[in-house]
């Protein structure tokens, strides 16, 4: 099995692992951690799609750096929202937050 296939299967595993984590978790911080795992999978897929015989292509590496920076900023924004939610509702359980709304 060539390296590209190994990396793509790893990327798919990471993506769906993170997706399952987002679906089943009862803690917003854990949900953001799962989102980071999804992001790792996406980045790895982006990287492995441009992998040729002579290393990664410039194009996929450019998009990878863009994706890393955008993902990190999205996580920072999500964590700031988590702090706001905790101050407002006093809990981090999304089901509780939905029940306590208004």
């Amino acid at each position: 099995m060539i390296d590209q296939q190994i990396l793509q299967i790893t990327a798919a595993a990471l993506f769906f692992l993170g997706l399952a984590g987002i679906a089943v978790t009862r803690n917003l911080v854990k949900a953001i951690m799962s989102f980071q795992i999804v992001l790792f999978g996406v980045n790895l897929a982006l990287f492995s799609s441009g992998l040729g015989h002579n290393g990664p292509s410039l194009f996929s590496t450019t998009l990878l750096v863009l994706s890393i920076s955008i993902g990190a900023s999205i996580e920072a924004l999500a964590l700031s929202l988590v702090v706001l939610v905790y101050r407002h509702y006093g809990t981090l359980n999304p089901w509780e937050v939905r029940r306590l709304r208004h």
């Binding site: 060539i2 190994i6 692992l17 993170g18 990287f47 441009g50 750096v65």
Partner: protein, 171 residues
């Protein structure tokens, strides 16, 4: 390069990600996530993408981990409510994830068996796009992506401004 090292790194990457999801205490999850980011950076470095690998390590293993730690110090007093193990939404979540993974595996194997794969070098050669001009390259191959990205970023900026304005979200 022998395929053992990437396979080992891939197994370790999936293992640390799984550990990050399965730990009950958030601090242990954070430590596993830190190692996961480090391993992904090592994969990038292994294939010669040194800039992206170092950027990944600096961003995710460094900055985002510290940010998570600060957030855990602010809000992490309550334990993770685990809930029942086999509630319907959990089963639906696991089922969706496993089903999606199987679908992607099938798609991946089909594409590997196809004789003609769309590869980037062939497309650029057939379209006559200069590869030494990055902006032209991006615009001619991924113009929709760039436009959607611009729309997404402007929507995010509008959302943030709305959120932190006085008429928006109030504590």
């Amino acid at each position: 390069m022998t395929p053992e090292l990437p396979a080992l790194l891939a197994v370790l990457l999936v293992g640390t990600a799984l550990a990050a999801l399965l730990f009950e205490r958030l601090v242990y999850s954070l430590i596993a996530l830190f190692y996961s980011g480090l391993l992904l950076g090592a994969v990038f470095l292994l294939y010669g993408a040194s800039y992206a690998g170092l950027f990944q390590i600096i961003t995710f293993a460094g900055a985002v981990s510290v940010m998570f730690m600060v957030i855990l110090m602010l809000v992490g007093r309550e334990p993770t409510p685990s809930g029942p193990s086999f509630s319907p939404e959990r089963l639906i979540g696991y089922g969706l994830a496993i089903g999606g993974f199987v679908v992607v595996l099938v798609i991946l194997s089909q594409f590997a068996l196809l004789p003609i794969r769309i590869d980037e070098a062939g497309v650029t050669q057939s379209l006559g796009i200069p590869t030494d001009d990055p902006l032209m390259f991006l615009w001619s191959l991924r113009s929709w992506d760039l436009m959607f990205l611009l729309i997404l970023i402007s929507a995010a900026i509008a959302g943030i401004v709305n959120l932190f304005s006085k008429e928006g979200f109030t504590e």
